[in-house]
Amino acid sequence: MNAPVHITLTGLVVALAIAFAIGSTIWWMLHPPASFVQKLAAQAETEFERLVGSIMVVFSQDIESGHMMALAAKLARGERSELLAIYVIEVPFTLPPDAEMTAEERTALDALGAAETIAVKNGVNIRTEIVRARVTSQSVLDLAKREKANLIILGSFREGKYTGAPLGRAIETIAANAKCDVLIGVEGKHGTLLVDEFGQAAVPGGNEDRQANV
């Protein structure tokens, strides 16, 4: 036969004290102060989250961003960011703003269609927009402001492959004046300043050329 249960005030207080003491001790133990390195890492992570809150990828006749789209989609997926791809058609001052530019529009549709495909493949929602503007850089800056973009992603200057200069004027203006972070992707072939693991200057022409030379 079981004895009757007696709940005493002392017993109740001690029971609560034990549960609280053990729980709080374990909690305290599992939350040690962060080291300098950990603080740096946490700060970088926070900044990265802020950085990729809303991403805008820019295409234009002068800006080749195709290779950056996959990166943008992966970033957006990892951080659950909003993704906006725009194609800026620069209308020369010699033409009226609504002038028919069939070939450019066709190129824009192709570029944004490819962007959409990449985004869908990565499971990211994307909005696309074709913008007509007199000056590419200013329109990108205005649009970034309107969309409250946290990050503008740009490819390299389309002419760069011929001239050897990867950044055109539009890219430089955007990078210099944007109120948010700007990520500029320059294709590997421009990385001639990099030094490879053998201490030799990397060979122009990307990884394939480099491997062939090794």
Binding site: G11, A15, I18, T25
Partner: protein, 541 residues
């Protein structure tokens, strides 16, 4: 050809892993210690635990400071070697080795005791041979698993530790809530207060419930950010174990039992504490106490013996690899022959160390089991050793080894504070007196003195009240010192003096390898400032 870098131990032990590492060793102690202390200190068991607990807090703080300042494998042996020199480092390490071998036997023995709660055929009094054989098989099984390199994973340790903490907190919380009667506690303390001798015995046994902090410092070399994490895990472990030990002892003395307690051998009624502390039950006291918790006891009756047995087996295993690790560290420091560093060609495990120290634990098991297996031996033990039981025999030696090594650790802490003040200490024992030693500012730790007084008192209690401990313990130390002297003489190493060590370079390397770069910078800056001070002082006319 590029220089091949020596592979370093990966720092994979997280804060919880570090805690679980220590908990799986110390946490099991109360499963054994509770019954032993209740049997010895009776109505003053809570006082015995409190005394030992205060000493244990001092020990814990000392280990915490040292392990955070010197995060290397070796633990107490390394601290003593660094603070007091090679021979004292050897004595401390050898005493820790005794504890690890006892750890193997004591916890394998208690593991079988807990299993006997579900399998009565393993009861040590009724069936001593099956009890002995199963304990022996468990020990040899652990040896085999450790030789072939199979160890329980840190994750498994972590899960078992978490389950046990939840379980013990539940037992104590519900026990106090539903069954604690303060008037019973007071009555028991008044009517069952032990003699001074029994109280001393109880205190020296209570320290058994707190042995194993060494494990955290043993794992320091594999812990992430040890200087920051180890102080937390150590303090958390100290508090957790202290809360459990004090709570269990008070609950056992002041509990209104849920089921009737069986009559004693003479047919008289007996109190809960008396029942838990007798020879039949002292090896499984926690499981029996849990059964007496209203409502919860019905569930606890089934799972607490199993959980206790698993935790005790893990603890026994920590004795197996702890002994081989410390023997390896002592051998690397040229305190023991290099044979203890030899690894198995196929399994890459320190086979010689494993076999040697598990062999010692098997001998201890034999001596512990002898009185129950052979009536003639029982008569011999009754005549010469106060009729100690197997568990008592093991606890004697455990208390002796722990008290000896901890005494040295306190002295080493004081020495290191005074003679190595440049090493940054992210955690310091409280209450220090500023002093100047050899032109350097240092702090004299008052708590270490209190701790030393406490543990030295426990060592004296052990020598006075443990008839086996006072013979076998010192005999173990003498045997070790002979091995040490012969080895050092054969190797033409300094026998009583220490080898030369470049502690400055070693300390910078230790901190760099530990990933404590800020502390390394601080240490190097301290060293530079100290050198400049000395140069200025020397240049002064």
């Amino acid at each position: 050809m590029p220089e091949k870098k020596k592979p370093e131990l990966r720092r994979s032990v997280t804060p919880w892993g570090s805690f679980a590492w220590g908990y799986s060793d110390v946490g099991a102690d109360i499963f054994v210690g509770l019954g032993l202390v209740l049997g010895a200190a009776a109505g003053a068991s809570n006082v015995a635990f409190l005394f030992a607990g205060v000493v244990y807090v001092c020990i814990g703080l000392a280990y915490t400071e040292l392990a955070a300042a010197y995060p290397v494998a070796g633990g107490g042996q390394y601290f003593v070697m660094r603070g007091l020199g090679d021979i004292f480092g050897f004595i401390a390490g050898w005493a820790v080795l005794l504890d690890f071998t006892i750890d193997i036997t004591l916890f394998a023995w208690a593991c079988v005791d807990y299993l006997s709660q579900l399998l009565p055929v393993l009861n040590t009094t009724a069936n001593p041979w099956p009890h002995f054989v199963v304990a022996l098989v468990l020990i040899l099984g652990l040896l085999f698993l450790n030789i072939i390199g199979v160890r329980e994973s840190t994750a498994f340790n972590g899960v078992v530790s978490a389950l046990d903490i939840v379980s013990e907190t539940t037992i104590l919380t519900l026990g106090f809530l539903f069954a604690f009667r303060p008037e019973i506690l007071i009555h028991t303390m008044q009517t069952s207060w032990p003699s001074s001798n029994d109280l001393m015995l109880g205190i020296s046994l209570a320290i058994v419930s707190f042995v194993g902090l060494e494990s955290i410092s043993q794992a320091a070399q594999e812990t992430q950010r040890p200087a920051s994490v180890i102080p937390r895990t150590s303090v958390a472990l100290i508090l957790t174990i202290l809360i459990f030990a004090l709570s269990y002892s008070n609950l056992a003395l002041g509990m209104q039992t849920w089921h009737p307690i069986p009559l004693d051998a003479h047919g008289h009624t007996q109190a809960l504490w008396h029942w838990l502390g007798n020879g039949d039950n002292n090896g499984k006291a926690v499981a029996l106490l849990a059964q007496q918790v209203p409502y919860f006891g019905a569930v606890a009756a089934f799972y607490v013996p199993v959980l206790g047995a698993i935790l005790l087996l893990i603890s026994s295993n920590s004795g197996v690899f702890g002994s081989s690790r410390i023997a390896y560290a002592m051998s690397s420091a040229k305190l023991l022959p290099s044979a203890f560093q030899r690894v198995h060609p196929k399994f890459r495990t320190p086979m010689v160390s494993l076999i040697a120290f598990v062999g010692v634990s098997v001998i201890e098991l034999f001596f512990a089991a002898l009185p129950s297996l052979d009536p003639a031996a029982s008569a011999l033990y009754a005549r010469w050793f106060n009729g100690e039981s197997g568990l008592g025999f093991l606890a004697d030696l455990y208390a002796f080894g722990a008290a000896t090594s901890y005494s040295f650790v306190f002295i080493a802490l004081v020495a290191l504070r005074l003679f190595d003040p440049l090493s940054p200490r992210k955690f310091k024992m409280p209450f220090n007196i500023p002093v100047t030693v050899r032109g350097e500012r240092a702090e004299f730790p008052l708590v270490a003195v209190i701790g030393f007084a406490g543990i030295f008192a426990i060592l004296l209690f052990t020598l006075k009240t443990h008839p086996i401990g006072r013979i076998a313990g010192p005999a173990w130390l003498v045997a070790g010192i002979i091995i040490y002297l012969v080895y050092r003489r054969n190797k033409k190493l300094p026998i009583l003096r220490s080898q030369s060590h470049d502690w400055r370079t070693q300390q910078a390397e230790i901190l760099r390898n530990a990933g404590e770069l800020e502390l390394m910078d601080e240490y190097l800056a301290n060293v530079k400032a100290s050198d400049e001070r000395r140069a200025r002082a020397a240049a002064r006319p």
